[in-house]
Amino acid sequence: MDRSLFSLPEGSVGVVRAIGLERDARRRLMDLGLTAGARVTSLFSAPSGDPRAYMVRGSVIALRRQDAAAVTVAGV
């Protein structure tokens, strides 16, 4: 089932399907490894719930809600 990366529960893994952001922002995330087919794990959130930390291709990156919500992932 496809869902947004932001709605992926802590501790679960998703596979990137698409990024619904404008060109520069999209390529920025892709360059960090969020290309179609990449596995992403939702790890933990900041005190206010935003941003959240995700593991992708061996490193941990923080994404703000507006970005994470634009990434579509498939559950594993």
Partner: protein, 704 residues
């Protein structure tokens, strides 16, 4: 914090040029942020580029050298980049150096634990030049996580030397030196292949460009950039080539043919860029499947610590506790050494006075030297040195550990609501070390608007020159006594003043992003690196030598003439009134309005070259105008302040004004250099001063 000789500019270039003679080869050191690039650079060159466990540490390009077998090799440390598709000023600098800088070799430093992501950059660099050495660093850290990299296999796959390293432990450094020394230029190495029909289009364009470029720029690299259509970088390429490439009929025709191949396959111009990124990652995945073994997950223990540091119930409290704990240790630990240094300086001063009298020096000279110069120097050293010497290493340990990015992560929401970038938290943290370094550090912020906000608000957090002022004010006047209880109170008070600075930063950012710097907050890339065990011994030595002594030296250089000036001002009379009394008297009404007095304001004005001198100048000015005979210890100086009309309100207002006033001269010059604008520099001075004036006037009138 990044306060070193290098980061404040002086001597940054000189160190590299110090050793004579031309280098046999120049190697550029590239890599993702936070892969230990600076550690590798320091290990190779023996220089002391400041390192920290967070992204974006290298904001200045540094140059150094190493010798091997009688030859000299030049090394250029370029800013960290995730990709050559630059999205920040730093990445653009890295990309331009790799593409146009003319280095003979590019050493790409990679994190063994995140090779798949790191290879994105490495494979892009291989598109620029085959003369690459891959340094796979952090092998030890990866091994702890159960990850192993078959570097021999990777080397045969890529066709370039691959050196396994653990630079923090010194492993792999000599092998890397040897690899650079033994390097011979090669005609080709691994090239990332894109899926058809992209590959077909690239090949067609590449062949047409070959003649035009004449070997000055990689044809394949240029073909990819043309297809991707990044206008800004294509302009840079034109600049480098000296002719407009896109307007060349041959190139334009070839580009059109290549685009047609793609169009026929249903690929639009806008999609090409995305396909190139996915293509590189597909190659990277394939390489990693062959050469990397191990789990891709996050360690359980690491995750537990991270959750503790970021959860709603514990994240912020743990941060405040840590801050208060550091201040507690600083205040408690600085107490004794301060008094000891003070006593030693006093005794030395008296001995010198006797000496001067014995050799028959005139009275005025003895007084000017001992009561003027020497006394201010001894205040600067005894009041300022001990807290710095304790605070710096502790802060550096937290930095090395990787805690700062977690703080930025926790505080991101605040900065987002203020319309600023979450990374501003990192530059704010650098400001604790030195606001000038913090201002330079703002280069890590991608958006120009948010970078300006970070620059303008940086001096709202007290730097290492200012927070000992706070410690001095608190321990000399507000919370006296040396018991553990009073140290706890003192550290809480200090934490409060620091938080006031953070609150002021957020407020000022909020105001700026709704007035002169209007706009939407952009999305920062914040990486959270794994925790690393700090090298305690090295941290202590480095923070003492690089930071404390440097700052102290600068303060002393200012303090000595300031002491002389104050002594002269207190002893030269114009129309029956000493100059000092005249100046402080003139400023007194303004000072009183702000809950302080004329002497305090004079001290802040004279402290512009170095804030460390504010309290010593203040004490000197009071002492010089009265019958001050010197006190037994630093803590006893409270009596002097009380005798000059100080109350708790005076101390609080002075502390608040310490946090909120104009930046020091070095910071102002740096802001001018970084923004290139007098207007922003003036605003950077006016903004905190206005805030300080408002807050102090309020406090003075509500509680005074």
């Amino acid at each position: 914090m990044g306060l070193t000789l290098r980061s404040v500019g002086r001597g940054a270039a000189k160190e590299g040029e110090a050793r004579e003679g031309p280098a046999r080869l120049t190697a550029a050191l590239a890599g993702n942020p936070n892969v230990g690039k600076s550690t590798v650079f320091n290990g190779l060159t023996g220089l002391h580029q400041h390192t920290g466990n967070w992204s974006g540490k290298t904001v200045l390009t540094a140059a150094g050298r190493f010798e091997l077998g009688g030859c000299s090799y030049a090394l250029v440390d370029i800013p960290g980049a995730y990709s050559l598709r630059a999205s920040s000023a730093e990445e653009a600098a890295a990309r331009d150096y790799i593409a146009f800088g003319g280095a003979d070799i590019v050493v790409v430093v990679c994190d063994a634990g995140a090779l798949e992501r790191n290879l994105n950059l490495a494979l892009q660099i291989l598109e620029v030049t085959p003369n690459v050495i891959l340094a796979v660093n952090l092998m030890d850290e990866a091994k702890k996580r159960g990850i192993t990299v078959d570097t021999a296999k990777l080397s045969s796959c890529l066709g370039v030397p691959v050196i396994p390293m653990a630079a923090r432990k010194g492993r792999g450094l000599s092998e890397l030196k040897r690899a650079v020394a033994d390097f011979s230029p090669r005609p080709y190495a691994y090239t990332a292949r894109y899926p058809e029909p992209v590959e077909e289009a690239v090949n067609a364009l590449e062949m047409a460009l070959e003649n035009l470029l004449d070997g000055r720029l990689g044809a394949r690299f240029t073909a990819l950039r043309l297809l991707e259509g990044d206008g800004r970088f294509l302009d840079r390429i034109d600049e480098f080539l000296g002719f407009p490439l896109r307007e060349n009929p041959e190139a334009a025709a070839a580009l059109e043919r290549a685009r047609e191949i793609l169009r026929n396959a249903g690929i639009g111009e806008a999609e090409v860029g995305d396909l190139l990124i996915s293509g590189i990652f597909a190659c990277s995945e394939k390489l990693c499947r062959q050469c990397v073994r191990g789990p891709a997950g996050y360690g359980e223990r690491q995750l537990r610590i991270d959750r503790l540091l970021t959860r709603r119930a514990t994240g912020i409290p743990v941060m405040l506790l840590l801050l208060a704990l550091i201040f507690f240790i600083t205040i408690k630990g600085a107490n004794g050494p301060s008094d000891l240094l003070y006593a030693l300086f006093n005794r030395a001063g008296e001995a010198m006075r006797r000496g001067l009298v014995t050799v028959g020096a005139p009275d005025w000279l003895t007084e000017a030297l001992i009561s003027g110069v020497w006394r201010v120097l001894s205040y600067v050293t005894s009041v300022m040195l001990p807290p710095m010497a304790i605070f710096f290493p502790m802060f550096t340990l937290l930095e090395d550990l990787g805690y700062l990015p977690r703080v930025a992560f926790d505080l991101d929401a605040g900065f987002r609501r203020a319309g600023a970038c979450g990374k501003q938290c990192l530059t704010m943290a650098m400001g604790f070390g030195c606001n000038a370094a913090g201002v330079v550090g703002c280069r890590i912020i991608d958006s120009k608007r948010e970078r300006l906000i970070a620059v303008l608000t940086n001096s709202l957090v007290p730097c290492n020159g200012r927070f000992p002022i706070l410690i001095a004010l608190i321990t000399i006047f507000l919370v006296t006594g040396s018991g553990a209880g009073s140290s706890v109170l003192a550290s809480l008070a200090l934490t409060g003043f620091i938080l006031a600075g953070v609150a002021a930063t957020l407020l000022a950012s909020w105001v700026l992003s709704r007035t002169v710097l209007r706009g939407q907050p952009s999305s920062p890339t914040l990486e959270l690196p794994p925790f690393r065990v700090p090298k305690v011994g090295e941290v202590i030595v480095r923070s003492l030598l690089d930071r404390t002594l440097f700052v102290l030296g600068r303060a002393a250089a200012v303090a000595a003439p300031a002491g002389l000036l104050i002594w002269l001002a207190a002893n030269v009379r114009v129309g029956g009134v000493t100059v000092l009394r005249g100046v402080t008297g003139a400023l007194d009404p303004v000072g009183r309005f702000l809950g302080m007095d004329g002497v305090i304001l004079t001290a802040f004005l004279l402290g512009i070259p170095a804030n460390e001198t504010v309290v010593p100048i203040m004490i000197m000015a009071y002492a010089a105008s009265g019958t001050f005979q010197g006190y037994e210890s630093v803590s006893a100086l409270g009596e002097l302040l009380r005798a000059n009309g100080w109350t708790a309100v005076t101390a609080v207002c002075t502390a608040l004004f310490t946090v909120l006033h104009w930046p020091c001269a070095t910071t102002l010059l740096t802001i001018k250099k970084e923004t290139g604008s007098l207007k922003w520099t003036v605003l950077a001075a006016v903004l905190p001063t206005l805030m300080g004036v408002t807050v102090c006037a309020l406090v003075a009138h509500v509680f005074g």
